[in-house]
Amino acid sequence: MTASIATSQGILVVGGGISGMTAALEAAECGKQVILVEKTPSLGGRTAQLYRYFPKMCHPSCGMEINLKRIKGNPNLRVMTMTEVIAVSGTRGNYAVTLKVTPRYVTPDCTACGECGKVVASEVADPFNYGLSKVKAAYLPHAMAYPQRYVIDPLIVDTAEGEAAKAACKYGAVDLGMKEETIQINVGSVVWTTGWRPYDAAKIQPYGYDRYANVITSVEFERLCDPHGPTGGKILRPGDGKEARNIAFIQCAGSRDENHLPHCSRICCMASLKQTQYVREAYGDGENAGKSTIYYIDIRAIDRLEDFYRMVQQDPTVSFVKSKVARIAENKENGNPVLHGVDTEGYHRYATEHDLVVLAVGMEAEVTGVKLPEDIILDSSNFIEGSRDGGMFGAGAASSPLDVNRSVQSATAASLKAIQVIYKTASTEAA
């Protein structure tokens, strides 16, 4: 199998989120040999961690299922999880790439039966729930994880618990002796779909994300609302586990701010508008209706999504305050965050209490575990513009703050460019 892909006719896609899966599939379905590498144990990236998408409010599991079916059915595509790119050399049409594969301690014989998890007591912060809950140190990353294979955390590898997990496996799929591997491959083009990460909210000092338990980020709110999330889909605030009914959404938490991210992250307005509908879904709009308040500088419902904004404006459970919140304090008696600021429509000073504050954090380019080659050109916010030699491309949220829809478009475009590189360089060789 390796022989057929280890040629410079192949395409490497780095990052297995929605953009990477799309780019890899488009190229593989055009008959190109593709390797898709992902640094975490499963595909799906941050998209799989969403509860629903805007604007159709559908669940990501649906799109994931279709993409996974395409991946499973395509012999041109090879997926490597827990793999990072550590070096790229060479040039357009002929890159030598060094990959590092981190041990998973579980072989492909795993059937995801879960027996190993039952005998392990140690727990680690669950990255799928942004650390809001814990997971056993032998775990399946999430229900739709691909590959459907357990992971053993290095924490228990050299312990009795690790041995117990090994003993519990009926299929002999636990291999505690697995070592880190370094692999060399040759490809003709590279598509970087390394994605984004939420801006570190603790850096926005006046909002007290690091001091107040009931100030959370928008990505954490997605997990709170998801039935597969840490609270089973109930909006329970982290401070005291009480149901949050009066929720504030603060826009531009980090974005459009010279002190943080100078760019507009584009998706956060739509994300908060969408999340007000989770609150509505949880509490209805009758007597016991929840209440959402969006604090904003201006609402940027990108592209054709202005209709969604209009729909939310009509919703009696949602109100809008045109103001960037200046600071958050905490009511010591009940743990409620108190928002201080001045609104722009009349310059009224307010100090408003809410049960829970959701910071619509900005998108920044993911750099953890990502070592970009020097040839890559970055924009002023570290998003990928392309490469000097024209053989590597950025796509999806690694190239610009994009929503799922536009990430898929961008990934398809990058895939086509990568295919062109292969054809052009191959014909040069032939000539």
Partner: protein
């Protein structure tokens, strides 16, 4: 109306934003404000001003010249820099507030009887006499600025502090007779006059 003011009105007609851009310290940054309101909400004196910085910037764009320059709002700034630190567009708000206050003072449009303005003027005039600040005459001037009776009251209220300073030799009563001076007072005056000339030329006030 002062001559400078008449001149400014004739020159800028109704374009107050341009006037601020050209003549007020850091005034060219006013147009960068995106009206988010963080400065207004961050100001510790916020509830006590008539107009917040956010509102003043909007008033400048709206051409509310008289209201802005005669307002005492910008005189309330204590230079805590909270607004500058938090402003997402990095506007030097504190500097603009002081710039506006200074410009209003130059045009003689500034709020009458504004305590910050009175103290600043007292300080400046005291300093200009000898080239050094005379703490004794400056304090007395401050105590007596609202009349003789009020001056006696203020002095009595501060009696303990004054005696303490005397005892600690931090206050020389002989300073009342003019006090110590700079070596070359006229040199200081020439320097200040030149600095003002340069600044006025730059701001188009010459």
């Amino acid at each position: 109306m002062s001559d400078l003011n008449t001149q400014a009105v004739a020159r800028y007609k109704n374009n107050f934003l341009r006037e601020v851009e050209e003549r007020v310290e850091e005034g060219n940054m006013v147009k960068m404000c995106m009206q988010c309101g963080v400065c207004a909400g961050s100001c510790p004196f916020g509830p006590h001003w008539q107009h917040s910085p956010q509102k003043i910037f909007m008033m400048i764009r709206a051409g509310k010249r008289e209201e802005v320059l005669s307002s005492d709002s910008m005189w309330m700034c204590t230079s805590c820099y909270n607004c500058i630190v938090r402003c997402p567009r990095k506007l030097p708000i504190t500097h603009i507030m002081h710039g506006l206050a200074n410009y209003a003072h130059r045009l003689n449009l500034a709020a009458k009887g504004q305590p910050t303005r009175d103290v600043a003027r007292l300080f400046w005039n005291n300093l200009m006499k000898t080239g050094r600040i005379n703490e004794l005459t400056f304090s007395l001037g401050l105590y007596f600025k609202d009349g003789f009776i009020q001056g006696i009251k203020n002095s009595l209220a501060m009696q303990a502090a004054g005696l303490g300073l005397l005892k600690a030799k931090r206050l020389n009563p002989m300073e009342i007779f003019g006090g110590h001076k700079c070596k070359e007072k006229s040199g200081i005056h020439r320097m200040i006059a030149k600095a003002r000339e340069i600044e006025d030329r730059r701001r188009g006030l010459a």
